[in-house]
């Protein structure tokens, strides 16, 4: 049985947060988050990053759930027309520009490229033991994903201009408000994904280890797939439930 001592001793207090008198740093040098003996292993870091992404996607989902419920409610909402003292429904569906279908194709293709990029770098980060690392394919999937992502955003911008040209601005009708709201919010989130792709892309220039880069690309890839799935949902909502 262990012997316990009391806590009656009073020690030299320190107001500072204890960065003096600790063990020497477990890894040398500055920098943040790079691999080394002091970091958790690759599997732990990957798991933790993926868990973090899953958690982070929850409020994004809630945002769109909230917009969707507002959309459904607004569609079915009668309002009092004071001129006639009658309740009237005033929902006018919006004709969506056909360009959105092309944009959808672009986004789905970009998701494919994203997945290829993810597997490409994962292969570099976790080579199978006893198998010599293959010459990694030279196709720049990551860069191609970025290009398609930018193309999608440009396509969305063009689609809004087409919508405006046909008379549907943000405040024209409740339905048009929702079209801009849903597609705009999605675009903002996709821009975040584009930024992550850019960071992943320059990570090699910043000399981050392949393990770190692999994790960044992995997380970005899942985010990207989520954004593609979300877009399909939004398109269906606007087209079939409009």
């Amino acid at each position: 049985m262990a012997s316990f001592s009391t806590t009656a001793t009073v020690d030299e207090p320190r107001i500072s947060l204890g960065d003096d008198g600790v063990l020497p740093p477990l890894r040398g040098g500055g920098g943040d988050g790079d691999s080394g003996p002091g970091l958790p292993d690759y599997a732990t870091r990957l798991r933790r990053a993926r868990l973090g992404l899953l958690v982070a996607l929850t409020p994004v989902l809630m945002l769109f759930v909230s917009f969707s419920s507002a959309y459904v409610v607004r569609q079915g909402l009668p309002t009092l027309d004071p001129r006639t003292n009658q309740l009237v429904l005033d929902w006018i569906p919006v004709t969506l520009p056909k360009l959105l279908l092309l944009n959808t194709g672009v986004l789905i293709l970009s998701s494919l490229f994203m997945e290829l990029a993810r597997r490409q770098i994962k292969g570099q980060a976790t080579p199978l033991p006893g198998v010599s690392a293959e010459e990694p394919t030279k196709i720049p999937w990551l860069a191609m994903t970025l290009v398609l992502g930018l193309a999608f955003l440009f396509g969305q911008w063009t689609a809004w201009r087409q919508l405006a040209a046909s008379g549907f601005y943000v405040a024209t009708t409740p339905s048009s408000s929702f079209v801009y709201l849903l597609t705009g919010t999605h675009a903002v989130h996709l821009m975040g994904g584009v930024l992550a792709l850019f960071v992943a892309g320059i990570a090699s220039l910043l000399r981050r280890s392949v393990a770190t880069r692999s994790i960044v690309v992995d997380v970005t890839a899942w985010y990207w797939h989520f954004m593609a799935a979300l877009w399909i949902y939004i398109l269906c909502l606007l087209e079939f439930a409009g």
Binding site: T79, L80, P82, R83, T84, N85
Partner: protein, 268 residues
């Protein structure tokens, strides 16, 4: 310290409870048909909750004194809990809380599920920053149309509501700044608002309902005592919220008929 805590907690509890029991400040006397039932349930709730309140606080005070270090008993009763007790007090609490609420079903359905009866007197109540207007449909029993573009609050009366003079049904509508109703007859209130959310609150009638722009909300109550009753706005509506109040006058049927006839005559 245990004793001081006991005294402080017990005193706070007993003093607070005193004012509840003595009804020093209390619900104003009810003057509507629904008041008796509502007040009865209020009493039931406050007696039951009062017992729980007093018991819990007195127990808290007692325990912190009795189980103080240095008091007796001095040995701690090591325990991680008691599953049986947990089940018992969970069930009891559920039955008490949910049962209390279920018991209000008849009251709530009478107040809100059921529409006003066919012989109720319809009064349209419109809230706007910062006044209440009341409209009676007149002999044709129909409320005339209103148009927002015609609203002119500074002119009062029909103009404040934006009553459309071109609608034949408007001709006999009576618009007043005071609500007058006959005693012992159901009143159907149709609540509207021009600008922001207001709330139509008559404490003695146990009546409250938000007036929401874009909606016409139908409610009802039956005053059972003549008198003057203040109407308050009970939903924050802007800087004049505190002074947006009106008056409900409950009078005999004859007086009401005379009053309404006089208002109709003015319109000729």
């Amino acid at each position: 310290m245990g004793l001081i805590l006991l005294v402080v907690i017990w005193l706070i509890t007993l003093i607070s409870t005193y004012f509840f029991v003595a009804k020093t400040w209390w619900l104003p006397a009810g003057a509507s048909a629904a008041a008796a039932g509502i007040d009865h349930h209020f009493t039931t709730t406050y007696i039951l909750m009062g017992i729980v309140f007093v018991a819990a606080q007195l127990a808290l005070g007692f325990f912190v004194w009795k189980y103080r270090e240095g008091g007796s008993p001095s040995k701690v009763h090591y325990s991680h809990g008691n599953a049986g007790l947990e089940i018992v007090w969970t069930l009891l609490t559920t039955v008490l809380f949910v049962g209390l609420n279920l018991a209000t079903y008849p009251l709530w359905s009478a107040e809100r599920f059921n529409a006003a009866g066919p012989s109720a007197i319809p009064v349209e109540v419109t809230g706007m920053q910062f006044a209440w207007y009341f409209r009676y449909p007149g002999p044709d029993g129909k409320f005339g149309a209103t148009k927002p573009e015609l609203e002119d609050a500074s002119a009062g009366g029909e103009a404040a509501l934006g009553l459309d003079p071109k609608d034949p049904a408007s001709k006999d509508d009576v618009v007043t700044g005071t609500m007058v109703v006959p005693v012992n007859r159901e009143v159907e209130v149709i609540l509207r608002a021009h600008d922001v959310i207001h709330s139509f609150f008559i404490p003695q009638m146990r009546f409250k309902q938000d007036a929401v722009p874009g909606l016409a909300i139908h409610m009802h109550f039956t005053p059972i005592q003549t008198g003057d009753y203040e109407i308050l706005c009970a939903e924050l509506c802007g800087l004049g919220h505190y002074k947006m109040h009106g008056m409900l006058k409950v009078v005999s049927q004859e007086e009401f008929d005379k009053w309404l006839a006089a208002r109709e005559a003015e319109k000729q």
